[in-house]
Every structure is written in C-alpha cells, then in structure tokens.
Symmetry: C2
DNA sequence: AACAATCACTTTAACGTTTACTAAACTACA
DNA sequence: TGTAGTTTAGTAAACGTTAAAGTGATTGTT
C-alpha cells in the first residue's frame, strides 16, 4: 500500500515522450497526433494516472471551482438549493466548495476569505441573518471575482441577485387571508434589516394597507428565521393573552416553531389560531395540519444563480441582467383556507 | 477593480526581506525574530495579502482538506451529519470538500477520483444505495489515503467504520411492538445488500424469531431508501388487500412515503395501520401523528467519524479501533404505542 | 580564547502541471 | 523546386509557495 501516485513524468519516461506531450495528449490538445493520444491515454489508464489538480490549478491559473456560502445545511430550503447547485455544477464541469456560515457573520467572512485564497472562480452566497458589514463583498468584487447573491442578499448597489419575489409573494398570501375574512393578522418577521425579512414584511404591509387594516405593532415580531424564534414569539403573545387570528411567518422553520408552541400549550392550529408561511418543504403536507405556504422554487433559484454566475465567469466585462426575480406560488393546503373566528 | 492579489514576493520587495522570510514570518516560524514577524504581519495586513492556498498546498504537499461523499443533502439525516462534520472541521482547522453522489454509484466513483486528485488528506463517506463495486475504495486505501465509512458502509474487511447499532436498534423497535401485541408486522427494508438494509432487516428477523412470529415474505419489501419506495410498497400491499398491522420502515423518508400513501387512500395511521421507523428528523414530532422511531444521533456519528479520521491522518501506521458502534435510542411518540386491532 | 551552539535570515530547489515559444519534418502548391 | 503552411513534438519558464540546506553574526561555555 501507499503506492505513490503516478505523474506525467512517469508516463513520459515510460513512453519516451516529453512531459508536455503527455499533458497535452491527456487533454486532447490538437498539437498531438490522434494515434499518439490513444497510445498515451492507454498507458495513463494502465498506470493508474490521476492528475494532480492542485498542480494543474496553480499552473493554469484557474481552479475550475466555485465557492458556495450558505447559512445552514440541515434546512429544507438550503438543502435542496445546494443539491441543485451541485447538480448544475456537474453539468458545467465545475467543482463546488461549500461552506456553512451557521448564521454567523464572522464565519461567513472567514469562509469568503478562504474561498478567495482557494482561487474559486466565482461565489454564490446566501448571507447570514446577522451580516451587517458588507466590506468583504466589496473586496470580492474588487478582486474581480464574480459573485451572485441568492435569496438572502445585502443592500449594495450593482450586485447580481437571484431571488424570489418576496414582496409580491407575501402580499398575495396576506391578501388571500384578508379575502377570507382575516383581520387580526400577526407577522413573525425575522430580521427586517435583511432583504427577505424586509421585503416580506413590506408585502404584508402592502396587503394590510390596501385593505385598510391596521397593523398592530405587538403582532409584528422580530428576531430570527429559525424555530426558536417562532416558538418564542408565539409564547410571548400567548402569555400576554394577545394572540391574533392568523400568523404569517417569514420562513418555514419559524412556522414549525409556532406549531411546537401551539401544541405545547394545547392550542389547535386552524381552530384556535391559523397560520401561513413563506417557504415550502417536502414534509409540509404531512404536518398536522398541512400548512399552506408561499412556495419558493429552489431548483429555479439554484439554476438561475448558476447560470448567472457562469455567464459572469465567461465574460467578466459583460454586465447584463443582474437582478433576477423568480415568481412564487401560493400553495393552499389545510391552513388559512377558511375564516371561522367569532 | 480587478486588483491583482498581493503575493509573498510583493511584501518581500517592499520590506527588503527574502520571500521565504515573509513566508516563515506569516506562519510564526521560530526562525524569524518576533519584532520582524510583527513588522511583516503588519505590512501583510496593510497590503491585503491573502495566501494562495493552491500554491501552498502544492509546495507543502498537504492540502489541509478532507473529502466527504454523501448520497443526498436535502435529507435530514445527511443534512445534520454534514453540518456537524463542517463544525468539527472548523475546530480541526480543515477544509471540507463535499460531494453528493445522488445515490448514483458512478457519480460516487467520479467524486472519489476527484477527491484523490485534489489530494484530500482523508475521506468520510456514506456510500450510495446502488454501490456494489468496491474497487475504488480499495484503491483509496492502496493510495494510503485514510477513509472512514459512516452509516452506509461496504462489506470489506479491515476498514474503518462508524455506524449506529442498526441490528440492535431494529430489534428493540420490533420487540417493543411485539410486546404491545403486534404480530402482523411488515418491514420495508430498502436494499439488503447494503449494511443498513441488511442489519436492520436482521434486527427485525431477530425479534420476530425470538418471539416465535412468522415472517411473511410478502410483507418484506425491497427497493430503496426514499419516499418513493415507501409510497410504492404501501400501495402494492394496499392493492393486494394485504396490509399488515404495523409497518417498520428502514428509513425516515420511507415512512413519509407511507404517510403520503395512507393519506391518499384514506387510511388513518395508527387506527388503520400503524408505523414505526428507523431514523429521526426534527419535524417528525409535528407529523400527524408524530412518528415513533429509532433515533440515530447524527452529531455523535459525525463527531466520531471526524475523530477517527483525524487520528488516522495523524498516525497512519496506527490501526487501533476501526469499528465504532453508536448506540441508538427508541423514541416513542404517537405511533406504535398501543395495539388495538381486532 | 577557541569552539560550539544559537539566532535570524537567505539561497536553492522543488511541488506537478501548463503556457508560450521553438523546431523539425512533412505537405502542398505554384 | 522553393517556399509557405501544417503537423507533431520538444524546451524553457512560470504558477506562488514551502522544505531543506546554507551563511554569517552573535552568544555561550569552559
């Protein structure tokens, strides 16, 4: 065991060619005669040659690699988006370096630095919920490394963005509820200094204002995008005995938190308190009750992000479309489908 | 924009030191005087130096990187294991290259080759459900690259394995059911040519035999580890009008498939057909009804795998423990907790 | 005072490729 | 038959870093 890897020069020595000829042959370079290519490839295969990608990258000054930064992995939305990014990368013949910020701005920064140090050719990122300083993104741009922001994006001018039409999606969900008869509507909004929080909140406001409904500040909660936040916010309102008729949550995990909390205090979703959320997940239809939501097509998001990034990599000077909005879809299951309060 | 990255020689030129001095200083090499280190680091910071990891890896002959291969990402079990692996990697100061086989043996092989070409220092892998040829794993071993198999492992001698005690876990679930009074028990077993399928099936058999219950071959279904398989298997039995009282599924997604199918044909889980599964997920307690299961502690699995891999990397000659079994835990929620058939 | 050890740096070479340039041999064409 | 072009290969240099070996000055030891 521990057989040293075969390198180009080993093949060269064996076949009495120069190293460069071997290198070219294995890459089907037109410099080399077809018959020679065949011979060399055969020998390479036989000798178990595997290229040293590190050396190749250093020499060729390109890494064939793109970096991805996400806040979470064990989360349906990101999980499926990442999966789709990987699928696309395979088609483009690119490698992916995935990093996870764990919603931590410092980690995020460190990861981006590492990605730059690894000479990734581009970056796809969904920023953490606590990212406030955008200098690092500007540095990436300054270095000439294409970067595409997906879903969660910072507020910077002239950046490439792929996101869902958050405002419109939220608006449609709330308008749907209002038309059912809902008036006392809460919004668990997460953080509004990040676009998804801000836009979804705006959509909520749009709908309420359009229909002349007042917004109760106590019913607009802030704090995060995870279950914890949903659970806590619900409990806070519950303890104050100040529950609305409907809760619109900024993400799917927040809704799960509400489910847990409601279950814990013995309230029935739909009968006692209704809910609708932004974001979908495969298991949602199996929840009790299945939750209605605004669906964000993760595959489309990932696909568009990859395409946009690739076009930026191929022609760096070309700016073109840099703000892609993917439409959402209102999926009605068994929550927020009828209004049956007092 | 597009400012060229600063390199060691740039700093060297500016400070009138040799490149190597700069390199050593930035790595706190004892060769360099503390005052010099300070000066150099200051300049490096000021000039915005970021090391070229590719060059560093090539030169130092180590990549500080470990490769991970999983069948899926958007799956709670793998998602949380991966997340934990990333967390650990951060502690060990290693980078992770994550690849996804999508349950495809060919992709898996390709990914492993890429990882070797990228000179990862070790590999953590959970093999695909269709992997039958193990040559590539032997090649990895032959190359002297430490590899640790997690959860889904091939049948090869003398490999390092971290897994849950599948057989025992399944046994305990089934014995629990039998003690409740269940006799007509089906097992949706996935593929039994892979360990998790084989072992869980064995645990099922153990329990049935211990309690003198016959195993109905029609109730032992094979075919996969995903929702599709659960759905199809259920439907097959349903159409034959040959449903058991309890179904034990090999994974959590298979159970979800059963939920969907049962819901579709209007059967009530628990009342009409009961279920218990191997594998846990955060949302499971919010299912209707919350499903009882055999929990596999993903964090422990990931942690052990990383530790084992690291120890193999640090001392390659040392063999030591190479088959770690993590105990499971039976979590009883609202399925399979009473027997109420005829 | 002589020699060894230590300190703080420098020089040289290498990691395994690829890119850019060069060269020889053959081909085609007028 | 000479020249331009093509085909096929080789040579030299570079990518940015680190490992290993070397150097001169200072310090320590007996």
């Amino acid at each position: 065991m521990n057989s040293k890897p075969v390198k180009l020069s080993d093949i060269a020595k064996r076949l009495h060619y120069s190293t460069v000829t071997i290198s070219k042959a294995l890459r089907n370079h037109p410099d080399i005669a077809p018959s020679t290519i065949k011979k060399i490839k055969f020998a390479a295969e036989e000798m178990g040659y595997t290229p040293n990608i590190i050396a190749r990258n250093l020499s060729s000054r390109k890494s064939n690699t793109i970096g991805v930064v996400v806040p979470k992995i064990a989360h349906f939305f990101f999980g499926s988006m990442i999966e789709e990014i990987y699928n696309r990368a395979l088609e483009y013949n690119y490698e992916i370096i995935l990093t996870v910020s764990q919603e931590n701005a410092e980690r995020e920064k460190k990861h981006i630095q590492t990605l730059m140090a690894m000479k990734v050719e581009g970056i796809i990122i969904s920023i953490s919920q606590e990212t406030k300083n955008y200098d690092i993104f500007k540095l990436v741009e300054a270095r000439g490394i294409p970067i595409v922001f997906v879903d969660r994006v910072p507020k910077i001018d002239n950046i490439s963005i792929v996101s869902v039409d958050d405002r419109d999606g939220a608006f449609r969900a709330i308008e749907h509820a209002i038309k059912l008869g809902y008036k006392k509507i809460a919004h668990f909004a997460g953080y509004t200094d990040i676009n998804i929080g801000r836009e979804r909140y705006q959509g909520f406001v749009d709908a309420m204002e359009k229909h002349g409904l007042p917004i109760n500040p106590e019913w607009v909660c802030h704090g995060g995008f995870g279950e914890r936040f949903g659970y806590d916010s619900f409990m806070k309102l519950y303890k104050k005995n100040n529950l609305p008729d409907l809760i619109f949550t900024v993400t799917y995990p927040v809704a799960l938190g509400v489910y847990s909390a409601a279950k814990e205090v013995g309230l029935k979703i739909t009968e006692d308190i209704d809910i609708i959320c932004f974001g979908n997940a495969k298991v949602q239809s199996l929840l009790s009750p299945p939750i209605s939501c605004v669906n964000q097509p993760t595959d489309l998001l990932a696909k568009s992000a990859m395409e946009l990034l690739m076009s930026k990599i191929k022609n760096p000077e070309l700016v073109g479309i840099n703000n892609i909005k993917i439409p959402t879809e209102l999926i009605l299951r068994e929550t927020c489908i009828t209004f049956n309060k007092n």
